[in-house]
Amino acid sequence: MSEQQAQGAQDAVTMPRLGMPAPQFEAPTTQGNIRLADFNGSWLILFSHPADFTPVCTTEFIAFAEIHDQLREMNCELMGLSIDSTYSHIAWVRNIEEKMGVGIEFPVIADLNKDVASLYGMIMPGESKTETSRCVFVIDPDQVLRAMIYYPLTTGRNMDEILRLIQALQTSDEHAVATPANWRPGDKVILPPPATQDAAEERVNTEGLECKDWYFCKKDL
């Protein structure tokens, strides 16, 4: 094993998996001690940022605050995390409100001992061993991990995509369909491919569907 491989093995952490129960935790936040189970019954976006009082993270916090009401309307909560203290979080959140005029109403985990960051694989040692990368975990009302997005330290996240992701997941759950590339609410959705020859024949003869072929049909909701 090369030195690089050995280092890689040493740095390996358990990564969460899509479709599996989200790892449970209890952690101190800006709104008191919170357990993941407290969000049972709601969608949750758990996101990490590298550090308080940094410019890209500040733009992201403002952007998350701006979509917070839309998320709440979709029964989706928000919770941030970084490897900073509760006092640092409080000071930063107050600074954002004072200097930028934006209130941060979602809780922020103070993960000084990196417990939650390690549980969710938020630290990318190739980027930084002391900061969390820009991770997004979408957890559904049954506390199953449904989506993950990882961005590097340099690049702020796109809130439109995060909103679109929640809308797409909720649409898929409600109607048992999939969503095509660049889907937006109101666009046609994709039907799951038929599993039998008979079903395939029936599918292409069903009125109201837009079929390119038996396996590739869309419909309006």
Binding site: I34, R35, A37, G41, S42, R72
Partner: protein, 75 residues
Amino acid sequence: MPCIEGDALTPTGRELLEALAEPRTDEEIKAITGQRLFRVRISLRELMFAGLASVEGGLYTLTEAGRTKLELSEE
């Protein structure tokens, strides 16, 4: 908002204890108080830790200590 500061109930704490006058689920308390569900659960845990509320079969209720605390806060 915390429910207890020092030894005193906060307005949030009093509102929650009042909602527990009869046994209720966390969802029912959410509907009464208008708080987000996760906030209700945090508050209920705080009240239970302080011995002011208890839970059985998913129904939260006032303890005797909680009833006394609520009465004292209203005086």
